[in-house]
């Protein structure tokens, strides 16, 4: 299947196009082709905003710490669900970490940011207590192992979103 690069999440309007197959004499079931998509503005709030601004302006990955249990969340979260308190303390975590899991996805859906196979990983960054879910690149998935050290590769042109990190690649081989 040809790869379609999504520039944005698909536009939206409820559009029902009568199928060309609509024909009372047809043995095929009638189909009303529709599309669900709509522009939507998600407001990240001040905490996630700072996380994205740090990625965009400083190529830094920030975590936030729970004052009660000490968990350092990456990506950042305003509330520690376990302790039911606000997270407050900002901590810069490393741009490197350990691969906790990975997969190569072989099918194509139009929302994927790169052509299939798309390689995903869970990376525990140095200083973080949670795993960051992201794309992996510059690597053959067959040689990946749980425990491989990975490093973030930032995009040249950054827009203040999670894809400002282009992907993670094995650390130190470059």
């Amino acid at each position: 299947m040809a790869h379609r690069k999504p520039t944005k999440y698909p536009d939206m309007f409820h559009l029902i196009t009568p199928s060309k197959r609509l024909n009372v004499l047809s043995k095929d079931p009638f189909v009303a082709e529709g599309r669900l998509a709509m522009p939507y503005r998600y407001f990240p709030g001040p905490v996630a905003t700072r996380f994205f601004v740090e990625l965009r302006d400083n190529k830094r990955i920030m975590g936030i710490k729970c004052p009660d249990c000490g968990t350092v969340y990456v990506p950042v979260e305003t509330t520690c669900g376990k302790c039911f308190v606000k997270t407050e303390e900002w901590i810069e975590v490393g741009n490197e970490g350990v691969l906790e899991s990975y997969t190569a996805t072989h099918y194509t859906i139009p929302v994927q940011p790169t052509p299939a196979p798309v390689i995903y990983g869970l990376i525990k960054l140095d200083g973080a207590d949670t795993d960051l879910l992201h794309l992996l690149g510059e690597v053959d998935p067959q040689v990946l192992r749980v425990g491989t050290r990975m490093e973030a590769v930032f995009r040249e042109k950054r827009e203040g979103n999670i894809l400002d990190i282009e992907y993670f690649r094995p650390a130190g081989n470059h």
């Binding site: 189909v31 994205f52 990975y102 997969t103 190569a104 996805t105 072989h106 859906i109 795993d131 979103n161």
Partner: protein, 385 residues
């Protein structure tokens, strides 16, 4: 429980792609069947069904407030109808609470979904939190693959052990007239099927499915009056974990353990493996049957692979899991948990035919929802000797 809630009857459509049917008609078919089976009607005077609780999901149905366009098929015309937008097990959970609370005496629970109307992977992508995960193009299968990899790595679970789940469940479905994809498979069939997202292959995932399931439940008095084989709901539990998969230890299903703790506590179950006769659980992917078995306390953490290898989970084994064929034999999302309940009730009523677990008196119903099993619902049921 102070009062008892009984399952009076259950019915299902045959599962499979239904391009010729409108959503409402799919629900209607299951509801009509359960009315015929039980002889009950929708009434206002307490002589029949008091209310409908449905389960479906807006994105899957393609419009907001999904139940509004299928309300007639669920008997909701000018009557009380409420929707639970989670797995069908949650709808049953909520319906049982409505009866325990004394508001209704008899409720129809119906779940429907036509997965074939849309690319489900896009629905799953839209179900992910937008800032950190959705933009990466993930869906539930790619996320489940990360969970599978971590689980298999941590505990040395082999792909062959996961394949045995597929073989067992699709084989059990040979005896289930409602099943979509009964098939005798081999390990080579499973391991040789196309890769979706490593390590998950095509046969490790449930097929695209359409269908509906309907259950009627009532107070103890009504259940005893309207069926000679009531199945009693004895334990109920549900629990949510964090949404973002990276915040969880994906190899340790805490929300399932918590839901099971609640349900077992209510039902007085202290040794689930010894006290439960069969389990109908929600394995969206083969490895999840092993992981959920651990979460349900049927074996120690990491022993799910050995459990399937031992043969204990086959029909005739010590603790049969998914004698119906499970989700891998083709059950739509949303319907999944209610289908587990229907199958458990059919077993305890002794009406399961070739898939019957001999002498089954107690069963556990498990529904799951969300990415990598974020939320779980556990319901334990029992019949009288």
């Amino acid at each position: 429980m102070a009062r008892r809630v009984g399952i009076i009857g259950a019915a299902q459509t045959k599962y499979g792609r239904k391009p010729e049917m409108h959503l409402q008609d799919v629900a209607f078919e299951a509801v009509q069947k359960v009315l015929q089976k039980t002889g009950l009607k929708f009434t206002e005077d307490g002589s029949g069904i008091d209310a409908t609780i449905s389960c479906s999901q807006d994105h899957w149905d393609g419009w907001t407030i999904s139940s509004k366009n299928v309300v007639n098929g669920g008997g909701g015309h000018l009557r009380p109808e409420e929707k639970v937008a989670e797995d069908g097990a949650y709808a049953l959970y909520y319906a049982a609470l409505c009866i325990l609370g004394g508001h209704y005496d008899c409720i129809l629970v119906v779940a429907h979904t036509k997965e074939s109307q849309v690319d489900g992977r896009l629905i799953e992508n839209s179900g992910l939190e937008p800032l950190y995960t959705r933009m990466l193009g993930l869906d539930f299968t790619s996320c489940a693959a990360l969970q599978a990899k971590q689980y298999m790595h941590t505990y040395g679970i082999s792909h062959e052990q996961c394949a045995r789940v597929v073989i067992k469940n699709r084989g059990n479905a040979m005896h289930n007239p409602c099943a979509q994809a009964p098939e005798i498979l081999t390990v080579d069939n499973v391991l040789g099927s196309p890769v979706l997202s490593e390590p998950i292959r095509l046969l490790d995932a449930k097929p695209t499915s359409d269908g509906a399931c309907a259950l009627i439940i009532g107070t103890e008095e009504k259940a005893k009056k309207w069926t000679d084989k009531p199945v009693w709901i004895e334990g109920l539990g549900c629990s949510y974990d964090r949404h973002y998969p990276g915040y969880r230890d994906l190899t340790d299903p805490l929300s399932l353990k918590e839901a099971a703790r609640q349900a077992y506590g209510m039902a007085g179950i202290s040794n689930p493996r010894g006290e439960i006769d069969l389990v109908e659980l929600s394995e969206y992917y083969s490895f999840q049957e092993l992981l959920w078995s651990e979460g349900l306390g049927l074996c120690e953490p990491g022993q799910g692979g050995r459990l399937i290898e031992s043969g204990a989970t086959q029909i005739g084994g010590e603790i049969p899991i998914n004698p119906s064929g499970g989700l891998l034999s083709g059950i739509p999302v949303n319907v999944a948990g209610l289908n587990r309940a229907a199958e458990a009730a059919i077993q305890l009523k002794g009406e399961a035919g070739g898939r019957q677990v001999d002498g089954a008196r107690t069963a556990v119903i498990h529904g799951a929802g969300g990415v990598c099993g974020q939320m779980h619902c556990v319901i334990s049921v029992r019949r009288e000797p």
